[in-house]
């Protein structure tokens, strides 16, 4: 398995950081766009572009609500997104583990 097997939706610097941030929160949690932006040091435009890509893949959900009269955009990782990120991390780990004698593989867990 080579690097090309890594999910191209996640495997970019910007989107990997977004997915890492959102999956670091417990399932069912969302971040406001502003807080997400500050945790990523991203520009709003750049963040929106990448979020749209992730949303199209079904990895994140963007919720637009109102808090009182102030509009609020909230972003959370979906189940699909969490699974995709987990798979991505597992593949990464496999790529980073030097190939060993198959009998040693048992110890790796």
């Amino acid at each position: 398995m080579g690097e090309e097997a890594l999910d191209p939706v996640i495997h970019t610097q910007a989107r990997l950081r977004i997915m890492t941030t959102l999956t670091a929160l417990p399932d069912g949690d969302r971040l406001t766009f502003t807080r997400l932006q500050s945790l990523l040091d991203a520009s709003a435009g750049n963040l929106s572009t990448h979020l749209r890509r992730l949303e199209d893949a079904g990895y994140v959900q963007v919720v637009k609500t109102h808090q009182g009269r102030i509009p609020s955009t909230q972003v959370g990782a979906t189940r699909t997104g969490r699974r995709a990120f987990k798979d991505y991390v597992a593949q990464l780990r496999a790529l980073l583990t030097p190939p060993t004698d198959p009998t040693d593989a048992q110890e790796e867990r």
Binding site: E3, L6, H11, T12, Q13, A14, L16, R17, T20, T21, A24, L25, P26, D27, G28, D29, R30, L31, T32, T34, R35, L36, S38, L39, L40, D41, A42, S43, N46, L47, H50, Q74, G76, V89, L92, R93, L95, L96
Partner: protein, 210 residues
Amino acid sequence: MVEDTPLDPAASAALIAEQRAKVEAAVEVDGRILFVAWGVAWLLGFGLLWAVDVDPPLVDIPRGMGLTVFFALLVAAMAVTAVHLARKARGVRGTSALQGAMYGWSWFLAFAGVGALGYALHRDGASEQVSGMVMMTVSTLVVGSLYMADGAIWGERAQFTLGAWILVATIIAVVAGAPNMLLVMSLAGGGGMLAAAGVEATRRGRPRVL
């Protein structure tokens, strides 16, 4: 956010570790801060009340002044808690925000009840000694029970153990009676919270892997 430079697996792993640490530092409640704030408040507050009540007094100030200092310490710990939680929860919505709000209301209503009890004891002419004992016991029972529930729900052993420890200390304190019950809560209660801060510090010191 840098526009997409190609990533190699090692760079990806480093990026995940770095970003994860950043998010956790930003949104996770730091138990050390809360345990130290409350541990110090209990240690000094209950300790001072004991030193005022013991015969002969170790600290020669009117009881009312001792109580004022005690409540000031509790208010300070409450302020530290409120500011810390608000900073961590900023911009976080959904499940844990709702759970946090529900848990916060449990504390608020329980202590509103404790306050009402204090008023009723005073109104119905309970002696200073009986009021003092009832107020201390009910308060620390609420704290211990909510800590245990918190620990049970989130699977946090340290929090659960601390709650159980506070309840046991309360039982010992109430049997000991005034004024030494105050010393028990100061040392065992306040000391227990400071120990919990130490446990939390050790837990945080452990490295994490990808």
